[in-house]
């Protein structure tokens, strides 16, 4: 069920409840996306709420691989608003996921471009300011992942942070399953090495 709440200030809240969307077959998923995109183009807000539910984890993960942890939640909202405004420009309605992933990556680049001139918060400062104590260790590991080569960051974060499976990552982002699989395994191998080094440094 999806609820649309009208609030003051002309804002509408779309609240989704089906947050644990399971990955189904890519073809069916694409057809469902195409139908939802068509509905959104026709002015259906509820349809956009469903797309938000299905893809918010992916957007969050992609942003987490690129921008400070404390900024991600706001940027997720930004990305979906941009997508909503530009949805008429989407040619293939069935490839909403890859298109949204591209918008997300561009938005992350914009973020870095805009904050270049201002005092940029380092990840450590940003994360310690926003993360609660139980999350501190998680943020530390996240920072380790973000130091890995770019190709490994996104699939590893989507896999470990957002809990998506490899096939789901490939299907949602539009990447080739084989390359996602390779990147997850190679990234995991590198991460093990980095974690081992960190542990060794702590002990000595």
């Amino acid at each position: 069920m999806y609820e649309v709440e009208a609030t003051t200030g002309g804002m509408l809240h779309i609240i989704g409840t089906n947050m644990s969307a399971e990955a189904s077959s890519p073809k069916l998923e694409n057809n469902a996306d195409a139908a939802l995109v068509a509905a959104v183009r026709a002015g259906d807000r509820d349809a956009f709420g469903r797309l938000y539910d299905a893809y918010s984890r992916m957007v969050h993960g992609i942003l987490l691989a690129r921008v400070p942890y404390g900024e991600v939640d706001d940027l997720v909202q930004d990305v979906f608003l941009v997508a909503l405004r530009k949805i008429d420009a989407l040619r293939d309605a069935g490839s909403f996921g890859p298109w949204l992933a591209m918008i997300t990556r561009n938005r992350a680049m914009d973020f870095h471009r805009r904050t270049r001139d201002t005092a940029e918060l380092t990840d450590d400062i940003a994360t310690t300011a926003n993360a609660a104590a139980p999350e501190a260790e998680a943020v530390e590991v996240l920072n380790l992942i973000r130091q890995l080569p770019e190709a490994y960051r996104e699939p590893l974060i989507l896999r470990f942070v957002e809990g998506m499976t490899g096939p789901e990552i490939a299907e949602r982002t539009g990447l080739a399953p084989a390359s996602v699989r390779v990147n997850i395994h190679r990234g995991m191998k590198l991460l093990r090495e980095r974690l081992g080094e960190t542990k060794y440094e702590r002990e000595h």
Partner: protein, 250 residues
């Protein structure tokens, strides 16, 4: 083969499970998406705010413009081709006055300038110019052939000669004649006996081979070229506009 890291099937590795538990704390916490009230209609209003009549008019005005421009261009190009082709359609007769040959006296022959190299019946002008160095036999043969050429000329001037576009090369012929004239001018000792050439058109108009265009002719040519360039530029602009409309429509 099960691969827990890939698709969460089979037995989980210890470190993988640990990472899942640890990093799972940072997963996305769903929160309502706040959409400004004007965000949704904005996508639709961009397409509908413009009055339909105006959109239709702007859409169809450009193709009309393109069509009109292409018609004008075609018309002008056709006109230019017609005027260009009309010149070689007339018989071009070169009047070669041959004289000053040693012992040969002065002869005046009217010969048809051959329009193609395969025209064996027409006397070769180049051979006639270089004929000075030939021996008496050759010279006699040349005289005979020139008499035959004069007779042939009479026959040809009586019946209209049609020069097709494929074998009519007026520019090349003029250029050849001009080159030859310049060559003769550079040899003063032969200049006395060099044949003077002029082109006599069927309608009686005489043109020197190297005669420059009159100011009126030059002006007309320039005007025509300018009109062609202008039309071409307009057509290009219209095509570009059409492409942009097509992209915007998509």
């Amino acid at each position: 083969m099960s691969d827990y890291l890939w698709d969460k099937t089979g037995e989980a590795d210890e470190d993988v499970a640990q990472l899942e538990n640890l990093l799972g704390a940072l997963k996305y916490q769903p929160r309502p998406l706040e959409i400004p009230a004007d965000a949704m209609p904005a996508t639709k209003t961009t397409a509908t705010t413009m009055p339909r009549n105006t959109r239709t008019a702007t859409f169809f005005s450009r193709p009309r413009l393109a069509l009109a421009a292409s018609l004008v261009l075609t018309l002008l190009a056709g006109l230019w081709l017609v005027t260009r082709d009309s010149e070689p359609r007339k018989d071009i007769v070169a009047k070669v006055e041959q004289g000053g040959a040693p012992g040969g006296g002065r002869q005046t022959d009217k010969v048809v300038v051959p329009n193609s190299a395969t025209d064996q019946s027409a006397p070769n002008v180049t051979d006639r110019n270089t004929g000075k160095a030939t021996d008496d036999k050759t010279h006699g043969a040349t005289q005979k052939s020139s008499t035959a050429a004069a007779q042939q000329l009479k026959a040809q001037t009586e019946r209209p000669r049609i020069v097709t576009a494929s074998n009519a090369k007026p520019h090349r012929t003029s250029r050849q004649l001009l080159a030859r004239r310049q060559k003769l001018q550079t040899r003063p000792e032969e200049n006395v006996s060099a044949p003077r050439e002029e082109i006599v058109l069927n309608d009686g108009m005489r043109l020197q081979a190297d005669e420059p265009l009159t100011p009126q002719q030059r002006e007309a040519t320039e005007q025509l070229m300018f009109a062609l360039r202008l039309t071409s530029a307009k057509l290009n602009y219209a095509q570009r506009e059409m492409r942009e409309i097509g992209r915007a429509g998509k």
